[in-house]
Symmetry: C2
Subunit: 183 residues, 2 copies
Amino acid sequence: LLDAAATLFRERGFAGATTRELASVVGIHSASMYHHVRSKEDLLYVLCTESLTKVAEDAEAAVASENEPLAQLHALIVAHLTTSLFDQDKHATMLTELRSLPTKRRNEVIALRDRYERIVMEVVAAGQADGSLRSDLSARLLTLALLNLLNWTIFWYSPDGELGAAEIARAFASVYLDGVAVG
Amino acid sequence: LLDAAATLFRERGFAGATTRELASVVGIHSASMYHHVRSKEDLLYVLCTESLTKVAEDAEAAVASENEPLAQLHALIVAHLTTSLFDQDKHATMLTELRSLPTKRRNEVIALRDRYERIVMEVVAAGQADGSLRSDLSARLLTLALLNLLNWTIFWYSPDGELGAAEIARAFASVYLDGVAVG
DNA sequence: GTCTATAAAGAGATAGAC
DNA sequence: GTCTATCTCTTTATAGAC
């Protein structure tokens, strides 16, 4: 049900997805859905928190698996893309439909998101501190650039396409770390 | 009206934005709105095509203003960010609410978007051809990485924030071209 | 745990006066 | 060009039988 909601929310937007269509996708009537979930909003909320909890866990594991900041950053990039492209609909919905949550819950999700972004920024800052990453740009700007690279991928990646998640992860890690210019 | 629609569609999603609220923002009643526009969908369609036409024009002008692919790419990055961050709501709505258009119009907008992305890819490919950009990764991958960097910025940039559009453009161009690793 | 039936509210859009 | 009034349809969610 949650997976179906993620797919439908991504396709139609949260407001555009009807409980009837959602129920019909899982083969029941919309009234039966309310036996499993209190409201449509609850689905969105659970989906957002799950997606962020999962990606944060995986990122922390990736960071813990390496010792040097540069290697940690590389592992983090691969972990983020692997996780978010696997649960693509959930992550895409979290990123764009977050706005449809009422203030209290929206702020909770934003807090989770900020916590995740802080994990990323700490690795970047550690890389600057040990001299493996450039320091002429702020850790904040470097982190924002990285999150751009990671997040937007979720919106165009296709599991059926020619580019695999692993290939994309390897390429983007190299683009981010080494740049695209020669010399 | 179009600007108000862009803002509201971005805030609530296309389906979540009501014609009543939209009209009230511009100080009229929802019935009066239909004197200016045929339907809510028309607003989204016009908004998508306008945003893509504008960014494509500016990108082409940026490319034409330089001779070397590397300089063209730099100018293109600055132009894209300047334009899309100026009309932020319009571009953000185009990127996420495109899905709410009926098939025919959606395909038209996608065609515009693809045409723009081809402009970017041609500059990248030219850079690879003249040896200023690395060729171990495909032009497609390098272009996708760049579009990630550009597009996601639209979703977190705030005109009131500490980071200005020009500063972000300069930083991200350097991150993309030179990378963040030292050495 | 799923169904039929329906309540209550809100949606996009139109008609016709001014 | 904007208004009031309203049509028609769809929405989320509930009630209660099975």
